[in-house]
Symmetry: C2
Subunit: 384 residues, 2 copies
């Protein structure tokens, strides 16, 4: 069991519950960011990310920078496209709107391809869009945290490579890396960006990316300088390469404590076969989705193949208010999140089930949550 | 005494040694970034920063964003100036070059006013420069971490307000906030930017800024949108205002653990009169500077009024190599930093003396370091 002080189980789609050893690593004594022991830890962390993203291509490049998942969007917009370029943004919820806004900030035209809430753009629509214009990048939110809609990456990437081979495939994996299968090399992905606090299971504060050799070449061939300073790969690329080669190097001070925590989290993840980790998340997700269906609740993501394995977004029954049920759950020691999709924010709640809450056999978080949800709904007057 | 595992005393100009309670706060159990308990902590943290920066003007605006000190430059360049604007950058070492590079990234013309190594631009030179051109911002590095040169802010700011009243006064306080006196309101400063891991005494991972009401007005009057997304005050200003008003709000996920640690560090700092804290740093600095002078070593910062109170940069004696003395110090349990100023990097070393290493009476870090330096120098063949 956990040695942490008693606290409600945090079952939102990030931040998630953290393992004791990961939290312990957060309180590591102070080290120089260029000391041999820390350079070793940071270098190993970068190498472990290659395994997590399933890339063996030495040209692939991991980045770990203090920030949040959002900083990953800036990195893409500032390094891989130039003002006047075109981005095709596949929309499955809130985060596509934001990514598009980020592109526009950097003078890049973002065209959104939208699907009805709970669905995702279909391959034939995407093919049509790709044939209409030369897009430098296509972005897809692997799991949109606002809707729990899962996108399919393999067939999508194949389509892009076939129809528009110059278009880089950019994956927002903030709510998927660590709980959904991602085969970076095999699927021909160019960027997968994520954050530390979701299925990777490390406290918030890190922007994490894997970038393909092809995307790095695209970056190096820019006609203009990167349009960010803190997010510039011109500044960070040599630093990341040096750290992984175990050589001290400085651009901006990393957070040794967060890197230690990430190192611990990745060591735990890679101590078991990745396939088993994804299977565990799928099994927990199936159990949860079956349970909410049995409660008579409908998910935002309508079709099984559209449903994320690390979270579940469910519409509230008629007459049940989100604050009411969230507060009832809280009294039972369970924290869910409210809605986030602008058009329907008050009509649904979100249940995150990633990391130790589904992997650690000593935790009863999921069962406790399902029980609390059932009782909570009946308490607020909903008859199952 | 500290409950941390035995480790060498980290006496570089940041990251510094951290207090046990601050490190303990880093391993806080997971919380939602929009939960009432965390919103309370974040709100209090922002309010405490007002006290640290000595501003009572309600129009002043603190920002705390996941990142590093460098992200503060991006925030200034992306929010307070527009492409084509002019910045006057006062140069006292490495960090002015970088800040200027950051401005250029955002299409802002940076003019550097340089001083010889170890000195700072003089007020009459600055006055002349300000009269030559309309600068939207002037930047000054309060303490340049590469040289240990201290800039004087009060007279500088008075000069700018008198000669070029439209020019915003931007202070890079990365190596000064928490150990050098800064009177934000009284001195008429517009931005002081810093990072968590130096004299504030919280692990790295946070970009911290105080912004004047005047600068916020300038930001709001922009003709163009901010040129960063992650660093955009358009995105962050409502979030910071909401957190301080204890209202949950979301743009990008903050790091609850780092915010808890910052809250703990600020609570400790504000538990004593600030004046006492600055006096303690001055006293330790005087003692160190006297000791290195007695060892026959020369500082980069030549004149006493140019010398920082939180660090000391000293030239190595003829024939002594930096790796040799740094390694000798390390064997004695003390970590100093090498040189950083490009032109003379191999010729000097840096001793950081900020935070608990000088404030906590139970720590002997400074005495231990001075003793190690004396013995280390004699071991590598230097006769005092």
């Amino acid at each position: 069991m956990s040695n942490q002080p008693p606290h409600p189980a945090l079952l939102i789609p990030g931040p998630i519950e953290f393992d004791d050893a990961v939290l312990q690593a957060m309180s590591h004594y102070s080290e120089s960011h260029v000391s041999a022991p820390f350079v070793e830890i940071f270098g190993e962390t970068l190498s472990m990310l290659r395994k997590l993203f399933q890339t063996a291509d030495p040209a692939s490049q991991p980045f770990v920078i203090s920030g949040s998942g959002t900083l990953g969007w800036d990195q893409v917009a500032a390094n891989l496209v130039e003002p006047g370029d075109e981005a095709l943004v596949l929309h499955t919820g809130y985060f596509a709107d934001s990514f598009a806004d980020c592109f526009e900030t950097y003078g890049v035209k973002a065209t959104q391809l939208k699907a009805p809430i709970g669905d995702r753009p279909q391959l034939d629509e995407i093919e049509t869009a790709l044939k209409e214009k030369q897009y430098q990048v296509l972005t897809v939110t692997h799991v949109d945290t606002s809707t729990g809609v899962l996108s399919e990456l393999k067939a999508l990437s194949e389509l892009v490579h076939r129809v528009s081979p110059e278009t880089l495939v950019i994956v927002d994996g903030v709510c998927s890396v660590g709980c959904e299968e991602i085969m970076f090399d095999n699927w021909g992905l160019d960027v997968v960006l994520t954050a530390s606090q979701k299925a990777i299971g490390c406290p918030a504060g890190l922007s994490i990316l894997m970038v393909s050799g092809r995307a790095i070449e695209r970056f190096k061939a820019r006609r203009t300088r990167p349009t960010s300073y803190f997010g510039s790969w011109k500044n960070w690329l040599p630093i990341m390469q040096n750290y992984e080669a175990k050589k001290p190097s400085y651009f901006a001070t990393p957070s040794p404590q967060l890197i230690h925590a990430l190192h611990t989290a990745l060591t735990q993840i890679l101590s078991r076969p990745l396939g088993q980790r994804f299977a565990d998340h799928r099994a927990a997700s199936q159990k949860i989705k079956k349970a909410v269906t049995n409660l008579g609740l409908k998910q935002l993501a309508t079709r099984p193949e559209n449903q994320a394995n690390g979270m579940t977004a469910v519409y509230l029954p008629e007459g049940v208010q989100a604050p009411e049920i969230l507060s009832s759950l809280m009294k039972k020691g369970v924290i869910f999140a409210g809605g986030l999709h602008k058009e329907i924010a008050t009509k649904y709640i979100r249940f995150g089930h990633m990391g130790v809450s589904v992997i650690d056999p000593n935790r009863q978080d999921v069962d406790k949550a399902l029980e609390a949800l059932k009782i909570g709904l009946s308490e607020v007057g909903y008859k199952v």
